[in-house]
């Protein structure tokens, strides 16, 4: 992108970020509704069950939330605390919820982005192979793979990967993000994290890989019939060039649309994959808070992960405009 585009991108980001505010408010209201409908009063839920908080703090919270006041006042209180990034305190972990979440966020983002990368590259490759050999055995094989992958429970796939690759073959570690006993730095650290990331990222990527393979196949087959491909052929472009630079480039757009739609589902998948592989991210935190019945932390994770989804979606839209010059960022 040339430098003259840059202010447009900034403007686009600013406008999209403003549009995200009502979405976040909506999610906060949803959280508030869940709190209201939950058994016990809001403070019971927020302070964690089974009396992990001191009675003094509970009393203080009750006044803060104004539980004696009308419900809309309580809602305003809640929204105010959300927008000042005050997500409350986790008594089980003895830390503010926001700190806990921000601590775990990089690991989840790393896992999500690696998985998306694997899914995109492998999905593109399988989709292109499928479209080049339509109705031949390679295409059929990929179709069966896609069908089975659609039905695979992600967490189960992860467990079976542990059985095979860590248990039987002993190639890869079965959990955590780093080797706790070793104290690596620099490149050896990066290699250690990579080794730990392979299984969880590949597990998370499998489902999306299948979706993208199917999508790319359809998009490629459609574009082979289009006029611009015929023009390219008439100009004497080689089949490889047509496949890679003409057909594939057009197949990227529906792929990106799909990716944008799936961000929230990938985050959901990360929760499961992380709890299988003890990957120290948001999902593992969610799993820990389920076990400890730390509902406030769980609600914080829900809110924060929705914010992450919104932000990633904005990035996807920006990339979309970059890939397709017909779409302008202003609109």
């Amino acid at each position: 992108m040339s430098s003259s585009h840059f202010p447009t991108v900034l403007k686009f980001l600013r406008r999209r970020l403003w549009l995200a505010v009502p979405v976040i408010a909506g999610i906060a209201i949803l959280n508030f509704l869940i709190l209201q409908l939950a058994p016990g009063d809001v403070v019971d839920v927020l302070a964690g069950e089974a009396g992990a908080a001191t009675p003094e703090y509970m009393a203080q919270l009750r006044t803060e939330f104004g539980l004696d006041r009308p419900i809309y006042v309580q809602l305003v209180f809640y929204l105010k605390s959300v927008f000042t990034l005050d997500l409350g305190f986790s008594f089980r972990q003895n830390m503010p919820v926001l700190t806990l979440i921000l601590d775990r966020l990089p690991a989840t983002l790393l896992l999500m982005l690696t998985a998306m990368g694997i899914a995109l590259v492998a999905g593109l490759a399988l989709g292109v192979i499928s479209s080049l050999y339509v109705h031949r055995w390679a295409d059929r094989l990929i179709a069966v793979f896609v069908l089975i992958t659609y039905a695979l429970p992600t967490f189960w796939l992860g467990l079976m990967a542990i059985v095979l690759f860590s248990g039987r073959l002993g190639w890869l570690p079965s959990g955590n993000m780093t080797d706790i006993s070793a104290d690596y730095t620099g490149l050896t650290y990066a290699w250690d994290v990579t080794r730990h990331a392979i299984l969880p990222a590949a597990t998370l990527a499998t489902f999306y890989l299948a979706v993208y393979a199917k999508l790319v196949r359809t998009a490629m087959l459609e574009s082979y019939g289009a006029d611009f491909i015929r023009t390219a052929r008439a100009k004497g472009a080689t089949e490889t060039r047509i496949t890679l630079f003409h057909a594939l480039r057009n197949a990227l757009l529906p792929l990106l649309t799909m990716l944008g739609l799936q961000v929230s589902s990938i985050l959901s998948g990360a929760v499961l994959v992380e709890s299988v592989f003890s990957w120290p991210g948001l999902g593992r935190l969610a799993f820990e808070s389920i076990l400890a019945r730390d509902l406030n932390l769980l609600l914080g994770i829900l809110l924060f992960s929705s914010v992450v989804v919104t932000l990633i979606n904005i990035c996807v839209d920006a990339v979309y405009a970059f890939l397709d010059p017909r779409i302008e960022l202003q609109h």
């Binding site: 909506g26 542990i162 589902s265 969610a286 389920i290 769980l298 992960s305």
Partner: protein
């Protein structure tokens, strides 16, 4: 019209395969309760028996000596029940949102679509986890939680169908006859918008079964009901030594979800015969 659709389904290999698999699972769920009437939570045999070790426990036992075959039968019932019930709730909510939005348009539509978008932004599984955790894990909360997180695609589908249908002449005719809005929606528009909802509901059943398994795998299953996810969750600590404990229920989930996916795909082909040769 429905006869023709049925004929199309019976000519569709994917749909037939899906139906056969589904019938097999239903048979296992129904007949299994007669052959294995035991309590899936009770210690039935020596612990950690591999499949085939003891004819009394054909699929082996877990670390507590619980019979896996008995658990599988219980799990089949839970999966089917949760799948159908939550897909039904999801269809109900989705149809209501989509029908009202598509029929009335304007601010009603704008408001309902904002809510729909909100539910699409929130990570579905995380929301389901929160709902089940807050309202105490049970089969009923799982059904409602899964239903509540999965309706948006149905709502969008019904809405777009309604937006087209409401302009059609037969609707105008019915309106001219003085038909009330509820009657117009229920008797004129809805029947014509229903076929794609049936397809998406079959796929919703598949997703619901996966979600239920994931919830109980994380320990958010009904503490009194043995489901496939519960068996996998209980066996995960020993998975490297005894992979069959997690392996067998996982394959069952795979088969059931595959059945509903095939069925949905077959229904889709049957309802859109012009798309068939893709």
């Amino acid at each position: 019209m429905y006869r023709i659709i049925l004929e199309h389904i019976l000519q569709n290999r994917a749909a037939i395969a899906g139906l056969l698999l589904l019938v097999a699972v239903i048979l296992i769920a129904v007949l299994g309760s007669f052959y294995l009437p035991g309590d899936p939570w009770e210690m039935a045999n020596a612990p950690m028996l591999w499949p085939g070790d003891d004819p009394d426990s054909p699929l082996g036992t877990d670390i507590m000596g619980r019979d896996i075959a008995t658990g599988m039968v219980s799990g089949a019932k839970v999966s089917l029940l949760v799948g159908f019930a939550s897909a039904f709730i999801s269809a109900l909510v989705g149809i209501t949102f989509g029908a009202l939005g598509g029929f009335y348009r304007g601010w009603v539509d704008a408001f309902l679509m904002r809510i729909t978008e909100l539910f699409q932004t929130v990570p579905q599984f995380v929301l389901a986890v929160v709902l089940v955790a807050v309202f105490k894990p049970s089969v009923v909360t799982a059904v409602f939680a899964i239903g509540i997180v999965s309706w948006p695609p149905t709502a969008r589908l019904v809405r777009s169908a309604f937006l087209v249908l409401r302009e059609r002449e037969f609707v105008l005719a019915a309106r001219t006859l003085g038909m009330s809005d509820p009657r117009l929606i229920l008797t004129q528009l809805l029947p014509n918008a229903l076929p794609p909802v049936i397809v998406i509901s079959a796929l919703n059943i598949a997703t619901a079964i996966l979600t239920e398994a994931s919830l109980s795998f994380l320990g958010l299953g009904d503490p009194n009901v043995m489901s496939w996810g519960t068996i996998i969750g209980n066996g995960r600590e020993q998975v490297v030594d005894a992979w069959y404990i997690c392996g067998i229920p996982g394959i069952a989930i795979l088969v059931v979800v595959l059945a509903f996916n095939l069925l949905g795909e077959g229904l889709n082909d049957a309802l859109n015969p012009q798309l068939h040769k893709r």
